[in-house]
């Protein structure tokens, strides 16, 4: 599920990293509270990150002789808590991107959103729901399945939006060449049919083992939760959402929904007769068409990134003050 570089437009990457910033901030605050209760959570973040790395590189056999691998997002959320899992998986993804070339450097925000946020939180929510209804294992199984598939769906949408968001004047896609009609089904089929079930089996069996052997080592839900970080997360996301529009506005903001649809149709019509075939392969002429991006998009990108960073810093500043007053 790791999205490599150049499949997502820089605007999308920037937006997703900006969207991740408040989530990481809140996760940091939540985990600090968890560390106060269980000191070992601090080193556990790093160790869990390496555990996730090993889970992702372990080949599991699937019928038919091939292999797949689990991601372990839901499992980690249940084992060390969803916020800690979010941070640990983020570190894993960063390691993979920077040191092992697995997943893109710019696409890091997108990969983190899919695998370090959506997957553990969706999975954990299902697990908690199941726990409340006294069907813990069922909840976990559903959580693992729904979690990985939601993440795959979001990844499919991220990829599938690219031809709409970034293309040349003639409609040739600049980044991921597949539209929603290809990317989403492709991602979902693979995960609904195979990867999802692998994830379920893996998650359930490891959970069952730990539950039986050392039930106290599972994440214990704190008795009373502080609602403030949630509110902060929502506020942060709300503050950043217009930035997402700003970042991608220059590419497609002037169209409304129906025009967008027309664009999509037009794009796929043009596919039946690619320019390369019609006009022959003329190097200079071909590539001169790609010069649509320029000053406005880059400046907008920089400005939005700077604004996001500033808001992010302000948010940390504000929250720091609050947590300090709570402590004293």
């Amino acid at each position: 599920m790791h999205i490599p570089d150049n499949y997502l437009s820089p605007a999308t990457c920037g937006t997703l990293i900006a969207a991740m910033a408040p989530i990481w901030t809140v996760a940091g605050i939540k985990v600090k509270a968890q560390i106060k209760r269980h000191h070992e959570t601090l080193p556990m973040l790093g160790i869990a990150a390496s555990l996730a790395f090993l889970i992702m590189m372990f080949n599991l056999p699937i019928p038919g002789g091939t292999t797949a691998h689990a991601v372990g997002g839901t499992l980690l959320a249940v084992l060390i808590g969803p916020w800690a899992a979010c941070l640990a998986l983020t570190v894993t993804l960063l390691l993979q991107a920077l040191l092992f070339g697995d997943g893109g450097i710019l696409a890091f925000g997108a990969n983190a959103l899919n695998m370090a946020v959506i997957m553990p939180f969706v999975g954990y929510a299902c697990y908690r729901l199941g726990q409340k209804l006294h069907h813990e294992k069922l909840g976990l199984a559903i959580g693992a399945y729904v979690g990985i598939n939601t993440a795959a769906l979001v990844a499919g949408i991220e990829l599938g939006l690219q031809p709409l968001l970034a293309h040349t004047a003639s409609g040739a896609p600049l980044y991921c060449p597949y539209g929603l009609n290809v990317a989403v089904p492709a991602m979902l089929t693979a995960h609904l049919l195979i990867a999802g079930w692998v994830e379920v089996a893996f998650t359930l069996l490891v959970f069952q083992f730990v539950k039986k052997v050392a039930p106290t080592n599972l994440y214990q839900v704190p008795a009373r939760t502080n609602q403030r970080p949630w509110i902060a997360l929502l506020l942060g996301l709300a503050a950043l959402s217009p930035l997402g529009l700003l970042a991608s506005n220059t590419a497609w903001g002037e169209w409304d929904a129906t025009e967008l649809k027309q664009r999509l149709v037009q794009q796929h019509v043009s596919t039946s007769a690619p320019r390369g075939m019609v006009h022959g392969f003329h190097f200079q002429a071909l590539f001169s068409n790609y010069d649509i991006a320029g000053l406005p998009i880059s400046m907008g990108y920089i400005l939005s990134a700077l604004t996001a960073v500033l808001i992010f810093l302000l948010l940390i500043r504000g929250l720091q003050h609050e947590t300090n007053t709570i402590n004293h």
Binding site: P4, D5, N6, P10, G28, H39, E40, L42, P43, G46, I47, A48, A49, S50, L51, F53, L54, M57, F58, L60, G65, T67, L79, L87, A88, L94, L95, L98, L99, G101, I105, L106, A172, P173, L174, P177, Y178, V182, A201, F202, L204, L205, V206, Q208, F209, V210, V213, A214, N217, H268, T271, P274, R275, F281, F287, Y290, D291, G294, L295, S298
Partner: protein, 273 residues
């Protein structure tokens, strides 16, 4: 006291040889995983020697900034001439790699391009050869830059760079712990698989149950490691701040090293469109 041997009460089955059943075995995924894990552990134990040119030594944070600046730039640019220039820039940097490393670089790079290209090849029928060629060109350029960074930066440099760029302490500490324990947990996982193999005397019917036990144990081991590590951290007076020596302050060489990326950015902004 010398123990006295006696066979009187040894069970009978222990004194007679046991014959193991001969059943055909299927493809063994345990072996494959052991091989992958050994590869990873070898890589971690003996990373590719990092090229450090003393004359052109630049600080880790500048390296990181240069990487990000170049990758973002390549993603943004749609002008072939500029991209070409960046490719030449990177190519000339590669000239300074020792031959052995250059070969390694090339093989890793070609493999990663191959993997990235597999997914995009079907789009040939969707968007034509020009789009496909352009996409693969840009992707390979980005991959080459990332690969060059990996080849010229040690793990320690990465951590120092992140620290110098004011990354939160908790994050850097987590990253450092993750790197250290990746090796220890990997070693533990490998030994467990070997122990499992030694006691596997016939094809296993339900490998998944064993995998559950394997990773369940690995999680419990990581939990033990975490407890030990925290105790050790506390014993050494850990106060929640992770400090790491920051390399010498920025030097003119650092700006010189950044200058090609900056020039490319300028060209992109004022001329690229």
């Amino acid at each position: 006291m010398k123990p006295t041997p006696s066979t009187t009460n040894l069970p009978e089955w222990l004194s007679n040889p046991t014959t193991s059943p001969s059943r055909p075995s299927k493809v063994n995924f345990w072996q494959r995983n052991q091989r992958h894990l050994r590869g990873l552990l070898n890589h971690l134990a003996q990373p590719t020697p990092i090229v450090t040119d003393q004359r052109w030594h630049i600080t880790p944070q500048i390296k990181l900034i240069r990487l990000l600046a170049l990758v973002i730039l390549i993603a943004l640019i749609n002008n072939v001439v500029l991209l070409w220039g960046l490719a030449l820039l990177l190519g000339s940097q590669l000239l300074w790699l020792p031959p052995q490393q250059l070969r390694q670089f090339m093989s890793h790079w070609l493999v990663s391009i191959g993997i990235a290209a597999i997914f995009v090849l079907p789009s040939y029928w969707l968007a034509g050869p020009a789009t496909l060629g352009f996409f693969i060109f840009k992707t390979s350029l980005m991959l080459a830059n990332a690969q060059y960074y990996r080849f010229t930066t040690s793990v320690q440099d990465l951590l120092t760079g992140l620290k110098a760029l004011h990354c939160p302490d908790i994050f850097i500490m987590t990253l450092a712990i993750a790197l250290t324990y990746l090796r220890m947990l990997g070693q533990h996982l490998l030994l467990t698989m070997e122990a499992l193999e030694l006691r596997t005397v016939a094809p296993t019917k339900h490998p998944y149950r064993l995998i559950g036990a394997l990773f369940g144990n690995l999680y419990l081991k990581s939990y033990t490691y975490a407890l030990e590590l925290y105790a050790a951290m506390e014993a050494r007076g850990f106060n929640g701040h992770y400090s790491r020596g920051i390399a010498s302050s920025n030097h003119w060489r650092d700006y010189l090293a950044l200058s090609p990326a900056l020039v490319a950015w300028m060209l992109f902004i004022f001329w690229g469109r």
